[in-house]
Amino acid sequence: MRAKVRWREAVRVAVLSVISLVWVVLPVWLLLVNSAKPLEEASLLELGFPKEWALWDNYSYVIHDGHYLRALGNSLMVVVPTLAVIIVLGAMAAWAYARSRSMTAKVAYNITVLSIVLPAAVLPTIYELQTLGIDGTRFGYFLVMAGTRMGSVVFLATGFIKSVPRDLEDSASIDGAGRMQIFIRIIFPLAVPVLLVGSVILIISTWNEFFFAGFLLQGSDRATLPLALYQFASASADQSVLRWNLIFAHVVLTSIPLVLVYLVVQRRVVPGLSSGAIKG
């Protein structure tokens, strides 16, 4: 019996490995290996090891001429505040939406949730920023990110809080605690699992955002990573061949921060998801 179970397990792992090989390993391998090849070799887009190692050359070129560090700084400058603002303000609003019975609150909630699925409009957004005098700045872009991505965190958190009984809050309230105190001491800590899930989704979505960045960030010195990648990849007029080796190096460097964050956070996230954070 034991042997049968172990055999099945082995087969299962084997099948999984094959699937993951094709599904994930190959594209990632292609990416990594070609980012270490010189121009000519990389253009062949083959899976073999580099005949000539250009790892250092390619990556240092990207960091210098691709302005990687600058773009990295810009991305951080936008994503970190966006994350902080959405998590805190979103959790606050979610609590209110979960507990309040007022009609207006419901309207506000529905509008907020709609923002997840309805497309945001570029041109009028640019106008607004222009009027406020912050068009083209990272601050303006941050505000837009905060406003358009608030929805998913609010949605997840509201669903979660609704499923939590009110007892704790009510007894704390009877004990004389103010609303803010209840929020900080009780609600927020309780919602951490679902907020973590929301954070992951948020980080991925904002870090990789490209469409709005193109319109809202003026000048290449304010470009975030995806935008810098795009500018880098399309600045190849002088080249007789598309510089795949450099583009791939850029892609790797752009993805590394997220991978690192994920590796750190994943232990908390998956259990969080499993504990039924996705409700309502």
Binding site: F183, Y230, S274, S275
Partner: protein, 294 residues
């Protein structure tokens, strides 16, 4: 009276909590959205400063040029294909990786990697893989010599390829959602079914799939709507080509902007909204009913 008063005060007390978040949403999502609706019915263009209401002229022009319906068709095909591939793959993976073992944890994280890569970057990677002389064709050439089909160069395969890449990108996340959903189903129910003599297949369909309804709602809606809003991936690969075979609505809108036709661009934006509402709401309602029945 006193109860009513304090109830009222309680309600009013929520506003400081709601306002900051809602202000952001109102200012940077709702307001531009409303404005856009207005522009959809004007002849606004870069050529002139005069913005005049022109009724349904924008839509007529877009239909006449075969831009509107083509974009809707392409978008829907893309959305449905991506949604199917994603959900079938993810659900299967979720079933396989359901238990929280070390090995499973490793594979779960592994499949999550594509989620982390920027869509733009994914576009570049897959352009390389699907190139006529790229690795995929080379692999196929082992079986079919001289195979050099241009996946992204022919309408139908380009669209199918893009839908697949979209699915590839997000499956890792959807798998996790399904795992959560599966783990939420009490063991007792499946055991009861087993005692009743149901085999594995029946156990799955009758019990687990039914109870997966909430997760199912979430994933189907999210993948569908995400695909309707697709842009990044297409922009980094085919840019809507060849011809208009991969021109999803957002790409069509982008093209209109580029030509200075802001009115028609807003009209296309409106179409996306309508599509989301028309498809999303009934879909959500239907799936919700299933949830309740389960």
């Amino acid at each position: 009276m006193a109860v009513r008063e304090s109830a009222r005060r309680r309600q009013a007390g929520w506003w400081p909590f709601i306002l900051p978040a809602f202000a952001l949403v109102a200012a940077f999502f709702a307001a531009p959205f409303v404005l856009n609706l207005r522009f959809a019915f004007t002849d606004w263009s870069g050529y002139s400063d005069i913005i005049a209401f022109n009724g349904l002229e924008n839509f007529r022009s877009l239909i006449e040029q075969d831009i509107l319906w083509q974009a809707v068709k392409v978008t829907l095909l893309y959305a449905v294909s991506a949604m199917l591939v994603q959900n079938v793959f993810s659900l299967s993976m979720a079933l396989v990786l359901q238990r929280s073992t070390r090995i499973n944890g490793f594979f779960r994280s592994f499949f999550f990697l594509p989620v982390l890569i920027a869509p733009v970057a994914a576009g570049y990677i897959w352009s390389a893989i699907l190139a006529p002389a790229g690795p995929l064709n080379k692999a196929i050439a082992l079986v079919v010599p001289g195979f050099d089909y241009a996946w992204l160069g022919h309408g139908h395969s380009a669209l199918a390829s893009l839908a697949f890449v979209d699915a590839w990108k997000w499956s890792g996340l959807i798998t996790l959602v399904y795992i959560a959903g599966l783990n939420n189903i009490p063991e007792s129910l499946t055991e009861a079914a087993m005692i009743d003599g149901a085999n594995a297949w029946q156990r799955f369909w009758r019990v687990r799939f039914r109870l997966l309804a909430p997760a199912f709602t979430f994933t189907v809606v999210v993948t569908m709507l995400g695909a309707i809003n697709a842009f990044d991936l297409v922009a980094a690969t085919t840019r809507g080509g060849p011809g208009t075979s991969t021109t999803v609505l957002n790409i069509a809108m982008f093209n209109q902007y580029g030509s200075g036709f802001f009115g028609t661009a807003s009209s296309l934006s409106l179409v996306v909204t309508v599509l989301v509402v028309v498809l999303g709401l009934p879909l959500i309602a239907y799936l919700r009913r299933r949830e309740i029945e389960a």
